[in-house]
């Protein structure tokens, strides 16, 4: 009952590939198409829906109705936006580097779509089931930085260049806490492969016991977010993911009140739409990896498999929209200080807490470790966080103010 839809989809795929049993070359092509095309189309449709969701969500947080003229509740607004973007004039600056100006949106979109392939969508439903899938995900995620730099550089505009450099500095600074908090999960799960990480979050002994209550909770309580290192790791990963995807409160590179639009200044029309789409799809991909690493992937109590995974991705995306509507933007030095002086030491400390929790689980057993590990792990991380934030406070807060008056 649980993974019903997954098995049906796998059967459908095998039937479709089996139609071409006489032509092996065509069979390989059909296999490849089935592994990639439905995913790309589904995520593009999800992108359209998510733009509507974001505008409505932000509007309601800001106490206004949002787009409601185009369809019922404004549901055809993404279509209208798409038509507008397609018909806008494509202005390319005269002195710009035309090849790289054209190449930058493409180079941002390709890693976003490749990264989707590494998500374990269901039981056996994975587009690229590699042995080192998580490492490949971070590797193609680092290609985003090159694309942003290419966009900032090719416009030959000093504001674009400065905005592009700030964006690149932000993205490379936040890659480190991102990867370090994923490293704790990889260390405990023992593998870089996404299916094994999802399998390590299901308590096997409870699932096979036959007791209905234990089966119900065995699918949930094994999630890494319920362990102290997993909870802290999830928070660090989510904050770093917000910064990687250039979303608020880290959207300094593309904020309107900042340095025009940063690296996106000279882009109009369809190229801007491609940038937009690439950012949203990479936000989906990174929340998909957050779900895989910390929230149990596709495992769930009653509905499991693909629909549950999609519900989890959309709820994380809704949290991203909520944070965007609520928190103010960080300044660039606050942003960099936060990554290097706060998140990085805490992420390293998290690795130690994870190791300590793992070995005490082997020594003392499940329940004692759960209570004791939470208390001790929480105490360590909380003291470290408070100590670091006190160290990093700027001296004028609670101190004597120095006024510089115009003479």
């Amino acid at each position: 009952m649980n993974n019903f839809i997954d098995y049906k989809l796998i059967e459908l795929g095998q039937w479709a590939v089996g139609l071409f049993n006489d032509y092996p070359v065509v069979q390989i092509l059909v296999h490849l198409l089935l592994a990639t095309l439905p995913l790309a189309l589904a995520f593009m449709a999800a992108f359209g829906f998510s733009t509507w969701l974001e505008r409505k969500g932000l509007a309601r947080i800001q106490n206004r109705p949002g787009p409601n003229r185009v369809g019922i509740f404004g549901l055809l607004q993404p279509l209208a936006d798409g038509i507008k973007m397609l018909l806008k004039e494509d202005i390319v600056p005269d002195r710009s580097d035309k090849l790289f100006h054209l190449l930058a949106p493409v180079m941002l979109m390709v890693p976003a779509f490749i990264a989707i392939g590494f998500l374990p969508l269901g039981d056996g439903l994975m587009s690229l089931p590699l042995d080192s899938a998580i490492l490949f995900f971070f590797a193609v995620g680092s290609l985003n930085t090159i694309a942003v730099f290419m966009a900032g550089w090719s416009s030959r505009n000093k504001y674009s260049l400065l905005g592009g450099m700030r964006a690149v500095a932000q993205m490379i600074s936040y890659e480190i806490p991102l990867v370090l908090s994923a490293v704790t999960v990889i260390m405990i799960a023992g593998s870089l492969s996404a299916q094994e990480i999802v399998a390590s979050q299901q308590i096997e002994s409870w699932l096979a016991s036959g007791n209905l209550v234990k089966e119900f909770f065995g699918q949930i309580l094994g999630w890494h977010i319920f362990k102290p290192w997993g909870f802290a790791g999830f928070i660090f990963f989510f904050v770093a993911a917000l910064a990687e995807a250039n979303r608020s409160p880290f959207d300094l590179p593309e904020a309107d009140s900042e340095i025009i639009a940063g690296h996106l200044t000279e882009y109009s029309g369809f190229k801007y739409a491609i940038f937009f789409m690439a950012e949203y799809i990479s936000a989906f991909a990174i929340s998909g990896i957050a779900v895989t690493l910390f929230l149990g992937g596709w495992s769930g109590p009653v509905i499991a498999g693909l629909p549950w995974f999609i519900i989890k991705i959309f709820s994380l995306f809704a949290v991203m929209i909520w944070i965007r509507g609520t928190l103010p933007r960080l300044r660039v030095d606050q942003l960099m200080g936060y990554a290097w002086k706060f998140l990085l030491p805490l992420a390293i400390l998290n690795i130690f807490v994870a190791g300590f929790y793992y070995f005490s689980e082997q020594q003392f057993g499940g329940l004692t470790t759960f209570i004791g590990g939470w208390i001790i792990g929480f105490a360590i991380l909380q003291t470290a966080a408070k100590g670091l934030s006190r160290l990093n406070k700027s001296p004028t807060i609670n101190g004597k103010r120095v006024y510089q008056l115009v003479e």
Binding site: D131, A139, S142, T145, F149, W153
Partner: protein
Amino acid sequence: MTVAFYILAAIAVLGAVMAIALRNVVHAVFSVLLFFSALAGLFILLLAEFIAAVQILVYIGSVGILMLFAIMLTTKVTGDPTHNLLSRGWAWGALVAGALLLAFLVPLITQTQSETISKLSNFNPSVKDLGMILMDPYFASMGVIALLLTAGLIAAVVAASSASEE
């Protein structure tokens, strides 16, 4: 397999040649990034996928961005970064040296008996095995690399900030 090898080899050679021949430094850096990706593809062909991922992550994601930052910080911001830095005399000498090296290496390679069958046909190397040998026999090497990376990081920070001490 053969087609993939030839395509990737052609892209790698093209990327390397453009990297040394282009005048615009930023274009040269982007073509060497193309070279790195072609090399990652060749590593995947040789069934070393972990090394391919590390190549993309380290070379394209870190070293490439380092080079771009260094170009940014060492040229004027809106100036044209094309430098016609090609010493005439050195060019011919370098080409002769390169041709001599190739003339030495290629016969050396083609005259030895070549292996055709890869011994990896019934063994799929996994990342776990690499982790196990990093821990058990080669732990000291990993420690040395870690110390080296830390020392390099500190040295780079000190070297790049030397102006503030004057």
